[in-house]
Symmetry: C2
Subunit: 643 residues, 2 copies
């Protein structure tokens, strides 16, 4: 056995023992050292770079590592084998993808106003913001020698009377503590009930003078990030809000790699553990602590997520989702209770899942579309969700069409060498001085925060600025030289955003031609999808009344720049709105409103799906869109003015 | 710390360390050394006697230990404290109460004929022996690019069609494996379904060519012994049968001591663990292995047990059951699923509980009464269940009355110094030669088995024979002398059943005047209860057409002897039947037949309950019954002939 020491930029060393020939990435995973491997260890993404500080590693150089870097000690951990005692440095960027858990401060109005707006929008559309959970006061006569009815009948009769119900069911958890609670509260209690027609289920029982807590949990499970709100089911009030990286990321950044992983022996369990045990439960625990809510007081859960994510959540085989004829196990399901998943909530809590409409358009989109309210407007709206992939919905109250394009994870910082999620240290906005080529940043994390990498909105700005300043050409190739422009021995250029002295990084933060090329293909996929979908309906961009942009790209997104690089159609800036995490707002609505739940199902049923790969023009459109802004510059008239 | 070594008659020593002053019984419990303490360590029962072999113990002599025994080293472990290194011998009799698990050989017809009779009786009464579980073959078209319905809808539609159902629910376990199973079996499958009206729940899914296994579990949870059968829900066939001692016995032999224990911190969990984790689950595991059934294939459970036992099973506070005004949490409940209890069955299996009718007449009696069929006869029947207590039901198809008498555990060998359960080594029958006073035994366990102690049926025989031979008088006092009659220094007599040389015991097996007195009070409680109940209805014993004796007293019971000592009324021998464990047969019927389940509830509702302690004549009757056979010998005319 050899000693393997992991060193970090900002925390203490971790030393473990490993056998000769063991894979370094595997050793890190076993040791709980966070090293991202979006490609799941296939030497494809280059994200798992570590620096050999001392000792030996058996490791080849790959295209992700220049000879200079290799000489400095940089290695891909996924192809490195232990060959002796070794010390490696794990740079912050290597785990930037795996965000720390973050619970929001509800003091800031921003955090809750999106939910208030959702409630308001939905109520205005005539949908009751009400669910079937309520609290009732139940007062009974205590038993005596002349009145020896058992406790459960006494309670059932009283509730039957009060609710004019015909069938009262007492949940096991209430039954188990019934004797002591009825006596402790002198047969004067409050019950949390669920009422459906003339049936009532008693879910909880507390004293008449206690303050009831009836909480629910809405969750958006993104491929990269999980966001959740803990909600008061009676008032709709947000009790806590939090987010965390999806723990499955170590098995791949995209859904395909995770589906491959779940196919391996024990894989489904591993992926389920990663999302539930490692991600959701710690997040729930933290939010509960923050809001002083007991886990048993969470009586309902609503999950919005893409089809693969909700299949992996349930531990359901997701392979048929990606293999022809692309059949998910479910679009909708009412089979799931929290206890089946081991969620840290009341085990009898029903788990609502926002309906999928296909293998590539899932509950995150139906929930998001619902929250966007486009289904309730006469005007034509385009809904764009920029997650780990891109999904589009276009339509109005009469019809809706959706499609999905494999834009890849670039909008969330994936596929970009210095890319990272929109979290502390991320450059979220950028301008570049045309003369000096010196950039100015807005960095997440506030004053004094040094840059770590680039998040989605930052990438848009950087590419837009590089183009505006004539540093890159429409193909994304470097055409100016200077202190900040580097070239490797093949002449491939890169731009230094921050020298390592000014960055929270052991290396310069650079964006390379490869990165720019990856991003151009991502934005090209989005734009060409928009064009093809509109054309299939005999529409053109001038007929779009609203564009709603949602997703993890970050609220910092500069729409003008996004149009400038040809990612979004060139329409009036006023038509654009960034609506944040619409998947989570939709989940919030479904959780709280039984009518909204029904309406989302209706919206999902009415949405048609366009399979882009079946559209003959898509490939040509895509190729034409892989320029800045486009091969047909006339599509972007306002860009001419901007120059 | 001191070394404590437990020595055994038939197994290897166990040595552990304990602190000065620690209680020996507690040390044994922690070490998993089985020492019975029916009184739960209150120095009241004298069952926890061990022999000090070497070293020191701080321990007083009590009334349970003679000076001679004390000098030999006998101590009550419940009042012994560790005072140094020590070696103690734990005799077999000290753990005879805690029976080993036993899985019956179904080759012997005896083991299953009681269930066949129950099925026959019930069917003859016009009750369908059928439940709502069934297996259907479902053949679907495989999906294609033109038919992309998700798997769960495909299955639901096909089942809706086949069953003409309106609402099909797929259980989570089926959903979770749906994708792989449908593909593995080429969309040609069998479903285990539960049908209720126009609703269908799909509980399991297997290939079209596989043999379906749809099992159920019927359990009788006695205070002392747990018996169970694993059953084919489709045919009623017994797949396995087993029994085990109730693991709760270490917290007391009777319900009162266990209720006291569950009141302590963590007590409810301890008692629940003892019955579920230590008793039921190992028993289920063993039966499943025996019958090649997977635990997920057990789709329903039915439990028959007294009110305290079913409350402790559910982890429900049982204290109100024993405290005025004696209110159980439930008589009937539909709130319980196997997953709530952690039973080793399908977690979605419904747990049916035979209805209680009061604090002291529980589901074991309603199930047993049902199995006895007395509710379906015009003739007057008396049903006597001799468990750890005695319960009686009298009536016919028009009315039924029940009562409970605190007979104590004597019928199962409790309260008797050499008493034990009807298991290997128990003397189950006995005759005594009037001249020589030498006994002849029938011992459970077959040829070569040496006696360990006396079980219930054996005690009846021994007392009957001692009385017939003039060795004891009607008060149970010894009136003859001889080699086998011992006297202690106070003149208290005892009879040696087996000298230690002939016994599987380190001591002579003796029955003492105290034992005989305990038993006389137990049989007196039964007989006086019968008299008082009959009189309250204006009946007398001559009007009894049948007497059904059920319970753990053992099939060896000699009815003639039981009448001879005044335990049962003096009626024609042909009127007596021993019907075995009727509680288990009743549970079996409820498990398998939905109509039987309904009928048992009806039987329970129609049964009135007589509280004996409210009957003014009960005390006098009891005192008069505490003689052999009774102060009024004219009640037992046939005894005169027997003499």
């Amino acid at each position: 056995m050899y000693k393997v020491t992991f060193k970090f930029e900002n925390s203490e060393d971790i030393t473990v023992f490993a056998a000769f020939g063991e894979n370094l990435l595997e050793v890190a995973r076993k040791t709980n050292v966070a090293i991202d491997a979006p490609c799941n260890g296939n030497a494809a993404c280059g994200k798992c770079k570590v620096k050999l500080v001392k000792g030996e590693l058996e490791s080849e150089r790959t295209r992700h590592i220049s000879q200079e870097e290799y000489d400095q000690g940089w290695r891909l951990s996924c192809i490195s084998k232990i060959a002796g005692d070794v010390e490696v440095l794990v740079p912050d960027i290597a785990s930037a993808y795996r965000s720390r858990m973050k619970v929001a401060d509800l003091g800031s109005a921003e955090e809750i106003q999106i939910f208030e707006k959702t409630e308001q929008d939905i109520s205005e559309a005539g949908i009751k913001f009400k669910n079937d959970l309520e609290v009732i006061r139940v007062t009974m006569n205590p038993p005596s020698l002349d009145d020896t009815m058992p406790d459960n009948e006494r309670l059932s009769w009283a509730v039957e009377d009060l609710c004019e119900a015909e069938d009262v069911r007492i949940s096991f958890q209430v039954l188990q503590k019934l004797a002591e609670n009825l006596r402790k509260y002198s047969f004067d209690v409050q019950c949390v009930i669920r009422r459906k027609g003339n049936k009532v289920e008693i879910c909880d029982l507390i004293g008449a003078k206690e303050t009831p807590v009836v909480a629910g949990l809405a969750v958006d499970i993104g491929t990269t990030t999980v966001s959740a709100v803990l909600v008061d089911m009676l008032t709709g009030k947000i009790l806590a809000k939090g987010s965390a990286g999806n723990g499955q990321i170590r098995y791949g950044a995209d859904v395909i790699n995770r589906i491959i992983e779940q196919q391996k022996v024990g894989g489904r369990k591993r992926l389920q553990d990663a999302i539930i045990g490692e991600t959701l439960n710690p997040l729930i625990d933290t939010m509960c602590r923050e809001a002083s809510v007991q886990e048993e007081q969470i009586f309902r859960v609503c999950v919005a997520s893409n089809t693969t994510m909700n299949h992996l959540l349930l531990g359901v085989d997701a392979d048929p989702v990606r293999m022809e004829p692309y059949i998910p196990t479910f679009f909708e399901t009412n089979s799931v209770f929290a206890g089946d998943l081991g969620l840290h909530t009341n085990s009898h809590a029903k788990v609502l899942i926002a309906p999928n409409i296909g293998s590539y358009v899932g509950g995150d989109i139906t929930a998001g579309t619902f929250a966007s309210m486009i289904w309730n407007k006469e005007e034509m709206s385009l809904f764009i969700d920029l997650g780990t992939n891109g999904e589009l919905v276009f339509g109005n109250s009469e019809f809706m069409m959706s499609c999905a394009c494999s834009a890849g994870p670039a909008f969330e910082g994936g596929d970009i060498s210095c890319g990272m999620r929109a979290t502390d240290g991320a450059i979220e906005a950028c301008t570049i001085d045309k003369e000096t080529m010196i950039p100015t940043f807005k960095i997440i994390g506030g004053e004094g925060q040094k840059p770590v990498g680039l998040c989605g909105s930052g990438i848009i700005d950087v590419i837009s600025e590089l183009f505006r300043c004539g540093i890159i050409n429409p193909k994304g190739k470097f055409i100016r030289e200077g202190e900040r422009v580097h070239r490797d021995k093949y002449g491939m250029g890169s731009y230094v955003l921050a020298f390592k002295e000014d960055a929270a990084s052991v290396k310069d933060i650079e964006i390379t031609e490869v990165d720019i090329d990856n991003f151009i293909r991502a934005k090209g996929a989005i734009f060409s999808a928009i064009c093809v979908m509109l054309r299939s309906l005999d529409f053109d961009v001038s007929m779009i009344d609203h564009i709603y942009v949602a997703g993890g790209i970050g609220s910092g997104i500069n729409m003008k720049n996004a149009v400038y690089i040809g990612m979004f159609p060139d329409v009036d800036m006023e038509k654009f709105s960034y609506i944040g995490n619409s998947s989570l707002s939709g989940a919030y609505a479904i959780l709280l409103s039984t009518e909204a739940q029904r309406k989302v199902a209706e919206v999902a049923h009415n949405m048609t799906y366009l399979e882009l790969s079946n559209e003959p023009t898509y490939m040509d459109e895509f190729v034409a869109s892989c320029f800045i802004p486009h091969t047909d510059a006339s599509l972007f008239p306002s860009n001419q003015e901007a120059r």
